[in-house]
């Protein structure tokens, strides 16, 4: 009996907290369909009339489509590179019994803690003629996400039995062939997690885009920021632009929630 009363109190507390966490996004949503006069105050009540033309203006003026395409190019390329290369590297690191494997693991994992040296990275990119290029951004993003990807892959590969490697080799598979044919498909759960993570990391990245690229290469969230700079007081249109950038994230969250939370916590627990 006592326990159920406690649960009622906790239920009320959590409803209050959930509202507190939802209000900012609700505010964005309702104000995105208000008129310019109504948006003089960012209240949370529904507007008298819905002004969907704010959204038309976002697509006409805000470079939202450009941001979407940039985001797709940058995110997908980084995800493919990091998933393929990090899984290969992790396979060697967790299977080989040579000393170098342990050293490589430490070098990769140090990259999770040590911050990247942004200004010298600019110099490296500049030296290679890669400032404000897609491939420059992709490579820097990949270098940034590889440490955590290797960390998660190594943890997962250590649970895949070695016997599978032996069997594949007896069947006449070479090293790479064996890896991509037999091992890589078994890593699917962690690959999905790493893929979503790295996708979000690039999609939401601020530092690399701000330092190494100009607005024509920016992803959607950054285009909202530059749009905000161009129309200071038309908050209804800014809110509409924010909603547009949140839609892809919302879809990913609904589809991938299981992988996002399980993968992240798995990595953190193993650490």
């Amino acid at each position: 009996m006592k326990k159920s009363v406690g649960n009622y109190i906790l239920e009320i507390v959590m409803i209050f907290i959930a509202i507190l966490f939802t209000v900012p996004l609700w505010m964005v949503l309702v104000n995105s369909v208000k008129s310019i006069t109504e948006v003089a105050e960012f209240g949370i009540w529904l507007p008298k009339q819905f002004h969907f033309e704010n959204y038309v203006r976002v697509f006409a003026e805000a470079k939202a489509v450009r941001g979407l395409l940039n985001g797709i190019i940058l995110s997908f390329s980084t995800v493919i590179i990091s998933v393929v290369f990090a899984s290969m590297a992790s396979f060697y690191i967790s299977r080989s019994r040579k000393k170098i494997a342990g050293i490589l693991y430490v070098i990769f994992v140090l990259g999770i803690i040590v911050p990247s040296a942004v200004i010298p990275t600019y110099l490296v990119l500049n030296f290679m003629g890669m400032i404000n290029t897609y491939h420059g951004l992709i490579l820097v993003n990949a270098a940034g996400v590889i440490p955590f990807s290797v960390f998660l892959y190594c943890g997962y590969i250590s649970t895949v039995p070695r016997g599978l490697d032996e069997a594949a080799v007896i069947d006449g598979c070479s090293g790479f062939h064996m890896f991509f044919k037999i091992i890589f498909p078994l890593l699917k759960p962690v690959t999905v997690t790493i893929g979503i993570f790295n996708f979000l990391g690039v999609w939401n990245d601020v530092t690399n885009q701000l330092y190494f690229a100009s607005p024509d290469k920016w992803t959607m969230p950054m285009t909202v920021y530059s749009f905000y700079g161009t129309l200071y007081n038309e908050w209804n249109v800014i809110f509409a632009d924010i909603v547009v950038t949140l839609v892809p994230l919302f879809i990913i969250y609904i589809l991938g929630q299981k992988y996002i939370i399980s993968g992240m916590t798995a990595g953190a627990i193993k650490a």
Partner: protein, 290 residues
């Protein structure tokens, strides 16, 4: 040879990218920090000894940025870890909407920090903002403040934003730790007459100490490295009240001072690394003692 099917060729692609675009810049930073390299005289950098470091340690804005960063890191880490743990303990119970609460609290981590900063710009807006609107609405108009324009409140306003962003992630990690604890530990404790508090301090906390270590590390690293959210919220203002090392670096980079920013970056890299290693080492030792 047992290892013949595992060749170093597997590591070469990932390591090359990591070497050129991460390790090389880190090493280059050590050298660039001792030069007068600037965008204005790009092709003629000269070593200038410890001039950059002298400049840094006599620069009041640098000290402001450093103390602000430490304040921000401590406040956000303490609050995110305690709130994350509290939510995890509560949401480990069977409430009516447990899964919805979890999903809602976790969701802000998905949103880009610059977008979150724009949303909080709107919430904190002096005349139009939701926060002041709410305060006036419930008759507490006297408490309505220009949150981001007043040096007294801007930093704490930024901390609140970060707590909104990051608490859910720490909650999820704590929750996974709690769910891994075998149920019979609690059943045994109940038979021995333990109450909820005893159960938390004697069973839950010791057994999720590794999650506590990880979450503290995540909080510290995220706090020390903070850039995007503060950049878009206040860009260090008003009057450097929210200037953190991340925004400080970007400002001097914008002025073309490559050597100086590299020096600041180098000092800060060493600082973050030392803090992380000491924190993780110290808490790992505690874990063993428990």
């Amino acid at each position: 040879m047992e290892d013949s099917k595992y060749t170093l060729a597997f590591v070469v692609p990932a390591f090359s990218i990591y070497l050129i675009f991460f390790i090389l810049p880190c090493i280059a930073q050590i050298f660039v920090a001792f030069t007068d390299w600037s965008l204005d005289f790009f092709n003629n950098p000269q070593f200038n000894g410890i001039d950059n470091f002298k400049m840094m340690f006599t620069d009041p804005v640098f000290f402001k940025a450093l103390t602000n960063t430490i304040y921000y890191t401590v406040v956000t880490t303490v609050l995110k870890v305690s709130l994350g743990l509290a939510f995890a303990v509560i949401l480990n119970r069977k409430l009516k909407f447990t899964n919805i609460y979890r999903a809602i609290i976790f969701s802000p981590i998905m949103v880009s920090t610059v977008v979150v900063a724009l949303i909080f710009n709107a919430i904190y807006h002096p005349e139009r903002g939701l926060l002041n609107l709410f305060l006036r609405g419930i008759g507490l108009g006297a408490l309505a403040k220009p949150w981001l324009l007043d040096v007294k409140y801007a930093m704490n306003a930024a901390c609140v934003m970060d707590i909104w962003i990051g608490t859910g992630m720490l909650m999820a990690i704590f929750l996974a730790g709690i769910q891994a604890i075998p149920k019979d530990y609690y059943e045994a404790a109940v038979i021995d007459g333990a109450n909820e508090f005893k159960k938390f301090f004697k069973i839950t906390l010791p057994l999720i100490f590794s999650s506590l270590t990880v979450n503290t590390a995540l909080g510290l690293i995220a706090g020390l490295k903070v850039f995007g959210s503060i950049f878009a919220l206040t860009n260090g203002g008003p009057n450097d009240a929210t200037q953190v090392v991340g925004t400080f670096l970007f400002r001097y980079f914008g002025q073309g001072m490559i050597g100086y920013t590299a020096a600041v970056g180098l000092v800060f890299t060493i600082f973050i690394s030392l803090v992380s290693f000491f924190q993780i080492g110290w808490m790992r030792k505690k874990e063993v003692e428990l």
